[in-house]
Symmetry: C2
Subunit: 242 residues, 2 copies
DNA sequence: CAAATATGACTGACTAGTCAGTCATTGTCA
DNA sequence: TGACAATGACTGACTAGTCAGTCATATTTG
């Protein structure tokens, strides 16, 4: 029950060590708080607020990725972001909203990348290979990969997130893949016509690479890009030139 | 900590409604308690204890799969299993041990399946296809698939589980795949020799199918077996006969 | 200085784990 | 074999502790 029947009067809160506290918190290798302390030319309200929010988002991302939704403590997020817990509530309604908003925000760059010019100049294979190289280097290796794992983990418990992810990322990405495959088939680059029905097959190795990184990289490193090239050889036939 | 320095007298607990409580608990539609009530020929202590344990394992599996480790309440597991919370601690040391032991137990059948006769009679493709069909039907669709998702979700937070899973399932499975691929290459069934370096490519679609089921089946059903057959066509070349 | 922001102590709901007490089953003995 | 004693599986009320969310107070800004 946590009695806490004491503390009857609280003789005067007296925030004495404010500076000290800040100093201590600045001393820690916290990402953004340091940045705030150094480069603060003037920073009006809006800017500072945006910076704070960014710091919170960054910290929350780290914590959620490391521990999952349920096991993450808002106290830890606040500490890592260099703010008080109450401040979190100035930016987010509650823990759940924070989590959902975070995932969505984190996916925005991915989405814009997907919507980027799908103009094909050379062989389709090169397009797919470039796409995969970017994906594996920028997703499987970075924290965006963790986001994918987070979605796999928490998706079933956050249908809103799974829905959003399917709508904004998966279906768009698969549609793009579908188009590429169709093009490659008409061009004769791909012989297996059935592949058009399962664009998931194109990206499957990339997904596996992401999962492998977070679970087994320690036991057996996996060169995702090399693996994907072999995969492309299967799809497009073995490459002639080196 | 758990002080417990107090409790000097405990005025006399007086458990009055023992019978009533039992009746109530029996009335609930609990899985195993019902079974016990009906088919109880004699059921000595050991048998009953084993049944209890099985009920707990079953219930715990359901709860952990549905909510993840952190969000699962032991009270709920106990209620679902039709036992008191204290009983859980007669079978498991604590929540974490319970979780880990559960995962291991759940994988035993999978492991024995992997260690099963790898004798190849016909084409390697048929062996792989049979293997995949079993896997997708018995794993992607059933609760074993949830276990895989659970490992992906909680693995990073339970290194012991990730280690165990890698050692007992992943590395063995990949080694088996590697052997199959080698055989197929020497037989001329597979032309792409590099495939031997990445046996993960063989199983990637199966993994993706598992994940798809739990996240997106609602939005867009996926025929995992059909997908895998197309995948095999890519690896072995398109199948001649229907 | 008033308004806008930020703080962190505090609350209360919730939960892992404990343990004194109960009682069905098993063992013992006449 | 029937009565009685011993056992230990089982129970659930209870404790200590945790943590999301609040709000009175303090600080900063314009």
């Amino acid at each position: 029950m946590t009695k806490r029947t004491d503390k009857p009067t609280r003789p005067s809160p007296q925030r004495p060590r404010q500076a000290a506290i800040r100093a201590a918190s600045a001393k820690t290798p916290k990402v953004v708080s340091a940045k705030l302390a150094e480069a603060r030319p003037v920073a009006n309200r809006a800017e500072r607020s945006a910076e704070r929010r960014a710091a919170i988002v960054e910290a929350a991302m780290d914590e959620f990725v490391a521990r999952g939704f349920a096991a993450t403590r808002l106290d830890d997020i606040a500490k890592r972001a260099g703010v008080a817990k109450g401040t979190l509530y100035l930016h987010f309604k509650d823990k759940e909203s924070m989590f959902e908003e975070l995932i969505r925000t984190a996916l925005v760059p991915l989405i814009s990348r997907l919507a980027a010019p799908p103009t094909i100049t050379g062989p389709v294979r090169d397009a797919v290979e470039g796409f995969a190289e970017i994906f594996i280097r920028e997703v499987a290796t970075t924290r965006r990969g963790d986001i994918i794992r987070l979605i796999v983990s928490e998706g079933p418990r956050f249908p809103a997130i799974a829905d959003f992810y399917f709508r904004e990322v998966v279906s768009k990405g698969l549609a793009a893949m579908h188009r590429l495959v169709q093009l490659a088939i008409t061009r004769g680059e791909i012989r297996q016509k059935e592949l058009a029905h399962f664009p998931q097959l194109i990206v499957a190795p990339a997904i596996v690479a992401v999962i492998w990184q977070s679970l087994f990289a320690r036991h057996a490193p996996l060169d995702g890009i090399a693996m994907f090239k072999v995969h492309l050889d299967l799809i497009f036939g073995e490459r002639r030139t080196t």
